[in-house]
């Protein structure tokens, strides 16, 4: 049931969301990585529909001891998606570690030239610095897109060992620098995930000194994932001072709920927030939506992260399926020209 004061923000499986969506004029931005799931949306969507225009970033692995394996897996997924019908010239290869300007040029050009009404952004394999930027761009009022759906394919499982490594320095994601002078009243919201990527050391060396901190804890979840999340939280704050740190449990796939949880912390733009997206992709999507909405003036939301430069070639394994259907969570973020967030 939708509350009277709440915006209708549909989300659910790909088939459920598209049962009420227009059938034609869809374009797509995505990314191809080592992960099998990075091609799932394209494969599933093209069973029933057709993309008018597409752009997929091929994420070329950085140098590491497993670069050969990572390159082979990425190439295999590229070949697969081409076999499924993606035009080869719609694939833009960029090194994972490339300056962001290399990516933004492609994104800006794609959006400028977009002539079709509807857009899917598949964030399944996209690094955060990419999809945060895309979300902000496409939600701008001047963007001529009627309907925007963000998709995220769940994996069957995650790999073992470190999933991501060699983080960059703590820095703002492109387009989310925040105000030049941070106001005295500010809060930090941290999405709890699996890989702390140097965040605990930042906390312990006083980077967040003097700020109220909210942790977004994905729950319920599978027991092994909950255990990993708790380890992350304990690494951050071995002895939580409840006067400074609060924990909010959020459904890790329910973007509208997470968006509102962040909104309550930041008083929907009245308190300056710094967001740290270390949690699952849907939690990060909610952060991207919030930061994009409240992005102007002295209280603009900043997003800081320690972007990894190396990913485990087996970051995730397979595609999660229910009754033989891949689980592709789909979120309507704009309907009929109106932003839902």
């Amino acid at each position: 049931m939708i509350r009277d004061d709440a915006t209708f923000r549909p989300w659910g499986s790909l088939s459920a969301v598209f049962s009420n969506a227009p059938r034609d004029n869809w374009s797509c931005i995505g990314a191809i990585s080592t992960e099998e799931r990075s091609t799932a949306l394209f494969e599933k969507f093209c069973e029933d529909y057709q993309f008018e225009r597409t752009m997929f970033f091929k994420l070329v692995p950085s140098h590491s001891w497993h670069v050969n394996q990572a390159t082979e897996l990425t190439n295999r997924n590229c070949d697969k998606i081409i076999d499924l019908g993606l035009e080869e010239e719609d694939i833009l290869p960029h090194n994972l570690d490339a300056p962001f300007g290399d990516y933004s040029v492609g994104i800006d050009r794609f959006l400028e030239e977009l002539e079709f009404d509807n857009l899917i952004v598949d964030i399944t394999a996209m690094p955060k610095r990419l999809f945060f930027y895309i979300i902000k761009k496409i939600l701008l009022p001047e963007t001529r897109i009627s309907n925007i759906v963000v998709t995220y394919t769940e994996p069957r499982d995650y790999g073992v060992g470190a999933l991501a490594e060699n983080p960059r320095a703590w820095a703002a994601l492109p387009s989310f620098l925040g105000p030049r002078r941070v106001p005295a009243e500010n809060k930090i919201v941290i999405g709890i995930g699996y890989e702390p990527l140097g965040l605990p050391e930042l906390v312990s060396t006083g980077e967040f000194e003097g700020s109220q901190i909210s942790l977004l804890f994905p729950f319920p979840s599978q027991p092994d994932r909950v255990a990993k999340n708790w380890k992350f939280a304990r690494d951050l704050f071995p002895n939580i001072d409840t006067d400074v740190v609060s924990i909010s449990r959020v459904d890790g796939t329910n973007v509208p709920e997470i968006f509102d949880a962040i909104g309550r912390v930041g008083d929907y733009g009245d308190i300056q927030l710094m967001l740290a997206p270390f949690g699952p992709k849907p939690v990060s999507l909610a952060m991207a939506l919030y930061a994009s909405k409240y992005s102007n003036g002295d209280l603009s939301t900043s997003v800081f992260y320690t972007q990894p430069t190396v990913y485990n070639p087996n970051y995730s394994l397979g595609v999660k399926e229910i009754d033989g259907v891949p689980v592709i969570n789909s979120y309507c973020i704009r309907m009929n020209g109106v932003n839902n967030y």
Binding site: N68, F100, E165, P167, R168, S175, F176, P200
Partner: protein, 678 residues
Amino acid sequence: MKISKNPFVDLYVTEHVSAEKFVRIFSPILVEDSQTHMLFQPGNVILTGLQGSGKTALLNLLKPEVFVAYFKSDVEWPLPSHCAKFISAGINLARSSAIDFGQRQVKQGDYDQEKIIALYFADFINYWIVDDLLNTIDIFRTEDEASAYLGLRIESDLLDMFAAELSKNKCWLGGLESVNSYSALKEKIAARIASYRDFLNFNSELPTDIQVSKTSPGEPISIVAELLRNHHIIPEELPIFIKIDQFENLMGLEKEEDGSFSGLFRSTIMKFIGTRDERVSYRIGARPYSYYPDFSMYGTDTSVEEKRDFQRLDIGNLLSRKEARLSLFPKFCNDIFARRLNEAGIKLNTEKRSATSQVFGKRASPSDKAKDYVKNNFQAIFKLPTDWPNESKIFLIDLAERDPLSAKLGEAWIMQRIAKKQPRFSFAEIAERPWDQANRTWWKKERIQQALLQISARRQQRMKWYGADDVIALSGRNVLVFLTINQFIWSEYLRTGKTLDQIGTESMPNSIQDMGIQEASAFWFRKIKADPNGGDDRHRFINVLGSFLRTKLREDSRMSYPGANGFSLSEKDLGENLFVTGFLDRCEAYGVLETVKHTPKSKSRGQSRKWYLFSILSPYFQIPNPHTKEPFYANVDDVQHWLAEAKVISTSDNTFPQTKRKRTLKNIDQKDLFDERK
């Protein structure tokens, strides 16, 4: 009053605290060395130091807010009078977003992208620093006494005249057109910075008026300084210092695909200091590794030169011991320690005894540490060969009950003698304990730490660190490490339910100190992963290296190689393998390894460098931290083997040989007890 807050809870205090608190906790020890005075006198200075060396604290002394806070407080300005009058402004390259220039692409006609972006970078820095200089003026505007002390005349009509004349200056290339008042000047500059931030934030392109009015590096800053003097707002002789901090972050913008660095942005900064302009003096805060060989200046064929264009102040050098000069570091630590405790309400009388030794006590003697590790099972510290004469074994076991350290050294002494196949020696000779005699002082001294390691390993005990000397030695001349160790020790102490007011009447228990030190060491090891430019790679590498060195020291029963808590590579090897050299340099840069040049015993190796774990990592790997004796003489194959084991490089890389020769310590030229050269 019961005090239960950890006095060391905030590690980076000098970056976050108010100017008033900074004045109370700043340690003047560093500025006792007259070399540091160059920072407060005209002339360009490049200030270098690793993270946590105290660089930021020194640069903070230049801040106008801190200057005013000293002026208002009863704390004396920590420098002599000739270093007490100046104003300053500056930019932190990381926090200002200047480093984001490396992320954006710029298309402007046929110009080369790199050249254009460097020009914008310089223009941004010019405007940011001028904005900060005007902020400094504004701070003194409301501080009449401090302002009068400096001879400032900050009056509205003067400022308006200054602004009007400044805006007309050609250096701006029309960028400040239509400005006719001080407030309009500030607005115009703020608007330009805001445009740049929008650009760096990927929110917009640069407006046309910026595209056609890019200023030259440093020129507008000098013009502002000149006009402030011409309008008598600041006196002619008052120095203006311009800080540019976090220089090392520019390297991240310059990385080429082949792993080299273009030097583009650093050469732009060099242009600021290379103009030999006496109107302002620059202070560049940099980590040592961010130096580049030729110091070339952007857009020119010339380079800046040390001594002529700038002086270099190395904090690491200041804190080191040099032949006739004692290290300042222990004094520095003690002063910071006393100030932190004082701030927390614990007053110690430090006239006769240093603060750290009052709280942490003396370092335990090696002999006492050995007894602590052994407990009651004396025989277990040995691995005595079955073919040894019984009387020798009985003698050593009996000795171990009274002096286990001596007994363990005796075991090694006998083993060395047997290995050398020297003439049989008698029990009577052993009974005289030659290893403890005066003519073997160095032999013994060099092996004490290895003996302690082996005793603790045999008894399955953890090596322990406690006492003021251990705390300071493990800090490795890095004040951030010193504060980290203290943070963990005091956390452990408070966890026992005690309050800080009990300190002073009793010293910190050794077990608490040791627990805190072990925790701090584990923290520092974890922290390696958090650093950029390959933190996880370095973390895995150090894990492999630390374990390798410990095993070497533990299994060397004869104690023939007591210096194997470090390794050496020849400069020739380093020159031929740039990947290994670059990786080891980054390990040093990020405080993972320490390195020094040395001359090896074997002349054929030529000049070499040796590396040790950063001191604070010693407890984590259970390796002694003193650097004595010859290191393990490695070659590039060894290092590549460690790199492959740590998954920094793939075993299929061409650089890694598929068949690696067996490496032993036997072929290393080491002198020992029986060496005639002794």
